[in-house]
Each structure stands twice: as C-alpha cells, then as structure tokens.
Amino acid sequence: MSTAAEATRPAARPISRSRRMRKSPFGRIVLRIPFYFLIAVIFVYALFPFYWVVRSSFTPEVNLFQTPVHYFPQHPTLANYRGALSESFFTDALINSAIVAGGVTLLSLAIGASAAFALGRFKFHGRSFVLYVMLSMTIFPQIAILGALYTTISRLHLYDKLGALIFSYLIFTLPFTVWVLTSFMRALPGDLEEAAYVDGATPIQVFYKVLLPLIAPGLVTTGLLAFISAWNEYLYALSFIQSPNHYTVPLAITSFVSKTGSAFAVPWGQIMAATVIITLPLILAVLILQKRIIAGLTAGAVKG
C-alpha cells in the first residue's frame, strides 16, 4: 500500500556500482588518495625552491660547492647571514626599497583615492573616457618609454636618486589603483553621502569622513599591491640607479660578488641568505593578508 509520501517521492534511480563504491567509507578514502597526492605535488612545486634557498643559506660556502649535493645542511652556520648583512649595499637597499615603495604607495593612494572619488561619485562628461584611459594605462609597456624617461630624469637631476624611481613607478601603480578604488567607490550606497550633504557637509568633508573609511579595505588592498609591485621592480631601477648605496633590493640581490676577487666564485651562500631575509617578511605578509590581495587582484582582472 503506498502512502502519500511514497507517491510523491521521485522514483529511485538504480545506483551504479561505481557510485556505490565511491559513496562507501572505504571508497571515499581510496579516491581521496590521488587527490591529496595532487595537492601535495602542487604544494611541493610551489614551496620546494624556498626550502632549497633556506637550506643553502645555512650551509657553509665550503659545503655548497661540493658534490654530492646534501639535502639537509650537515654543518648549519650563520656565516652567510653575517656576510650578507655586513654588505652595506644590501642593508642600504632594504631601506631604499622601503622608502621608494612606501613613497610610491602613499602617493598612489592619495592621488588615486581623490580621482576615484571624482570618477565614482560624480557624473560628468568625459568620465568614461578618463576611466578607459586609466584602464589602458594598466597595459602600458614600461620599456617603451625607457629612453624618454632616461633623458627626462637626467634633465631633472634625478638620475641616480630614489626620486627618479618614485616618479617613474607611478606609471604602473596609479592606473591600477584608480581603477580598483573607483569600483569600490561606485559600489557604495548613496544614503550616507546624502545624509552628510543634507547636514551641510562639503564634498571634501564627505570624502574624508564618510567615503574614505568605507573604502578602507580597498585602500589596504591597492596599497599592498602597489607596495609589492614597487618593491619588485627591476628595469627602471637598473637603468636609473648607479651608486651601490642607492640600490634597491632587486639591484642588490644581483650585485653580490665574491670578496676574494675571483671571477668564478659567486657567493651563493650569501645570496641565498639575502634571499631569505628579503622573502621571509614578504611571505609572512602575503600569508596574513592573502584574502585582501586575492580580492584586489580579482577585482582588477576578472571584473575588468
């Protein structure tokens, strides 16, 4: 005798054997194995080079240039770290990069937020045009203006100065910042702004007190991305900076030469120690702030 419930239940489909197997506890574990193997492969692929760097940084120079290769440092030492940190151009480079990247980020955020306010909360002729100009700037090839920047920077007496880099890095940090902050600004509802205007606030006050706090996540994200791209830049740094004490981090990492003057012995131990010093804070920052970074990258790329 069929009850109402049985009548309304959809006819049971015959479950195939493989499906039954997959659903059983045993099947679930067995099928997970190749999956977790893949995950492990990806994990190793991404992180093995870092392990190798760390291992090399703790290996004394003598053992580095030895075959067979050891996968675990047998006589761990801090000598490489001491050597790297004793190089003044390296410690200077850390400071220089911080100045350049910090300066560029602050400028980009200030100029970018102001532009985003205009592009995201006002209507005027030419707004779309400006937005598309900003978007097309993000694919601008930096190499194309190297020559003109080179002569311009010399004429402004900025050659071999950090100011040259702060100036030229804006070309790739500003357009992206404007684009992403504009999309944040546009997404804000108009209520709070209207209430503030009704209360007699000037647009500038609305900007500072209402909008900026609301797009704070966007500011953090674009600031982070701008900082990272300025920190990593190499082409302009290579072309506009000459003195070792003005080097930025990418220049410094490629400037370690052997102290003994031999043309053949590259101080890989020190280079690896320097690499750890540079990448450890970056890795920690990325791990802590990964949600923000991913949000910023996808906002700029997938949405655009």
Partner: protein
Amino acid sequence: MSTGPSVATPVPTARRRRRGTKLQRRQTHLAWLLLLPALAVVALVAMYPLGKTVYQSFTDQEFLALQPTKWVGLQNYRDLWHDSLFRDSIWETIKFTVITVAFEFGLGLAIALVVNSNFKGRGVMRAVMLVPWAIPTVVAAQMWKWMLDDTFGVVNDLGVRLHILSHSRAWISDPSTALASVCAVDIWKTTPFVALLLLAGLQVIPQDLYEAARVDGASVLQQFWKITLPLLKPAILVTLIFRTLDALRVFDVFYVFFGNRTDTQTMAIYDQSTIVGDGHVGYGSAVSVAIFLIIAVFVVIYVSVNRLGEE
C-alpha cells in the same frame, strides 16, 4: 531612495534634477579638480615620455653626444628593418610568450580545478599558491639560477639520482636549453597566480548547475565542457591577455640569467641595452616605438576576439 549598492546615481537626487545649474557646474568643476593630480601624473609620466620617445625616434640622439642631435626622419626605422638582432629578439620573445602562456594556462587551470573542490586546508593552499607571485622576479631568478647550476645545482642532482637525466646539463649556458630554463622560472612563478585568477572565476559558478547536470546523467567531462568552460570564459580571456602582455614585456628573468648575451635577447633586453648600455637614444627610441606597436597589435587582436566572442 537607494535600496543597496547603487551604481548609476551616486549624486543626491534632489540636486540632479536641473541640468546646467550653478551647483551642477560646481560639481563638475570639483570632479575635474579631484581628477587633476591623477591626470597630471599620467600626462607627465606616460603621455609626455611616449610623445618624446616618438620624437626621439626620428633623431640620431646619443646619450653622450659629441655633436648636436639632428633630425634623421625614417632612417632609424629603415635600419631597424634590417636589424637582425632585433628580429631575433622579437622571435625569442614570441617563443617565450607562447610557451609560458600555454603552460601557465594549462597547468593553472588544472591546479584551479583541483583546489576548487572543498577540502581541509584549502585556505592554506591558496596562500601557498600566492607566495611565488609575491617575491621579486629577480629574486626568483636568482633562486633558480642556483638550482639550475651545472655543477652544484639541485635540479641536476635530483635528475641524475632519479635517473631522469643521464648527466648534468648546463641549463643556462647551453643555447639549446637556455630558453627552457627561463621558461621554467616564469612558469614556476606565475602558474600559481594564473591558477588563483581562474579559481576566482570557478568559484562564481553556481553548484546547482553541476547538480542538475549530474541528475541528468552528464559525465564529468561533459560537465566540464558544457558548464565550466563557457562560464569561465570571461576569466580565461582576461587572464590570457594579461599574461600575454606580461610575457611580451619580459625583462627581469632574462637579464639575471643571461645579462646582455646576444643569442637569447628579448625585445625589452635589446631595447634596454641599446638605450642604456650603448647610449643610442634615437635608435633605441625607434626600437621602443616598434615594441609598442607590436604589443598594440596583440591588444587589438584580443579586443576583436573578445568582441567576436560576445556575438
């Protein structure tokens, strides 16, 4: 009033009703004023140098010029046409672009599909995948240069021990493997980034579609072709164009591996060595303009493909 995020009417409605009022004009004035710093920067750092580059390409300017610079018209471009080093660098760049974009896209999609399923530690995986992208390219290049060292490098050691390689190779100095070694670095560094972008696109696809397909008896492969790929298309196109343009502009890893070695130059390396290394500002500017045009061609191709896809 607004019922949530509004995109079309950010300005308070009461004031918008009358066009061309003093208030409206003041608002427009303010908008342009707020835009001024950004526009000034773009004009100063991008537009002006671009114009100057085009101008310089018609002169014979040298950085350490002993004679005054003079106009030479299209001479630089004529020389460029016959420049075999430049042609080689274009070819090298295109080879690099095709190889790296293909691998990064293929591997990236595979990785994104794997990481997309729900499992413990997914957040950790995403963070791990972001790490190679975050470190400076030059630093990554140095890491790999050491790993690919012909005598003491771990790649050779592992390869020989696992019997994948018959003997150690000079990956970087040997011209037949030089391009492969550079590609390996870029692929290592950028595949996780591509995977993350594609993963973001995957996560927007509603799971119900897969459920419905499963009920209808669609196989995993059919689900992939009919659901995943079409819905992922926007993310795929954007990722492809960004990666392609980045690959065409490649400089860092080639410079760290090869310096100014002439048999493995990319367009950017050739341009940089012409301008900064040799001081030929005029000729180098012609090279720059040529590179700019080549990249513009790719952008045009992409935009047309995109437009065609939308019809």
